[in-house]
């Protein structure tokens, strides 16, 4: 008989490692990308793939269904609120006249209007 607990552990480890990799990639991108708006995109990786994959991995390790439900709520609320925060920051930067770099040569010019 196949050991279900072993399979569960393998899948949840894979999910958590993938989530951890996404968080680290997001952090690396945050440092390496050239300007404010491109850095927002790197932070988006941490928000979505990173957080949700780690939460999925934790769900598989939960002792009871109640914990699964609570983790599902955390995931759902992150899913609904993180874009609001990102948009608030991006919109605030735009409204104060902060213009993004554009084009393959990353120049500050033209405001897209």
């Amino acid at each position: 008989m196949i050991d279900l607990y072993l399979i569960r552990d393998i899948v949840s480890w894979a999910l958590m490692l993938a989530g951890g990799l996404a968080v680290v990639s997001g952090a690396i991108g945050l440092v390496r990308f050239p300007d404010f708006f491109t850095r927002l995109h790197a932070a988006g990786v941490t928000d979505t793939a990173g957080a949700e994959l780690i939460i999925l991995g934790m769900m598989l390790q939960s002792p009871t269904w109640l914990h699964v439900a609570k983790l599902a709520f955390i995931g759902a609320f992150l899913f609904l609120t993180s874009p609001v925060a990102t948009h608030a920051i991006a919109h605030a930067a735009w409204m104060t006249g902060f213009k993004p770099m554009q084009g393959p040569d990353l120049r500050y010019e033209g405001d897209g209007k």
């Binding site: 990786v45 793939a49 709520f73 948009h87 393959p104």
Partner: protein, 159 residues
């Protein structure tokens, strides 16, 4: 009255699952009291409308979220590849996409979906368009983003 009942049921479900008290009558009574009080305050404040309790989105939005999850996964791979590339080839771009949904909830859902997809962030909401910033030329796919908006418009139109 329909919205009031839906809000009460949703809050009661949230309270039950977060607290986990299924067999303690005193605490259950306190929970029921606080749920009813919160719903009464929401009604008294006059904020029980299609924006705060978007019940009509509900059967359809679940399928949309599944689809959106797949799109987010694909976009994540692209952004991670750029973040880890030896020499990232970025070509950031600002562009306008049309905003097909009619209701405020639909517009907000669409704008949030754009932001939630890594590589694109909605920067400014205009009357009938959204200003989007994309990380690369390849991610600045107006047709694909508009298709996302059409899907949102389909859900909000239901019911």
């Amino acid at each position: 009255m329909g919205r009031f009942l839906i809000l009460v049921l949703a809050l009661a479900g949230l309270w039950l699952l977060l607290s986990g008290y299924f067999d303690k009558p005193l605490l259950l009574a306190f929970g029921a009291g606080s749920v009813l009080f919160a719903a009464y305050l929401a009604r008294r404040a006059g904020i029980l409308d299609h924006d705060s309790v978007p019940a009509r989105l509900f059967p359809g939005v679940l399928g949309y979220w599944m689809w959106l999850g797949g799109e987010i996964g694909k976009a994540n791979m692209i952004v991670i590849r750029h973040a880890l590339a030896v020499e990232p080839k970025l070509s950031p771009k600002l562009f306008l996409v049309p905003n097909p949904p009619k209701s405020t909830v639909g517009k907000a859902t669409f704008a949030n979906s754009i932001t939630l997809t890594p590589g694109t962030v909605s920067v400014d909401l205009r009357e009938d368009a959204i200003l989007v910033h994309a990380l690369t030329e390849e991610l600045a796919d107006v047709a694909a983003i508009t298709d996302m908006g059409v899907r949102v418009a389909k859900i909000e139109g239901r019911g």
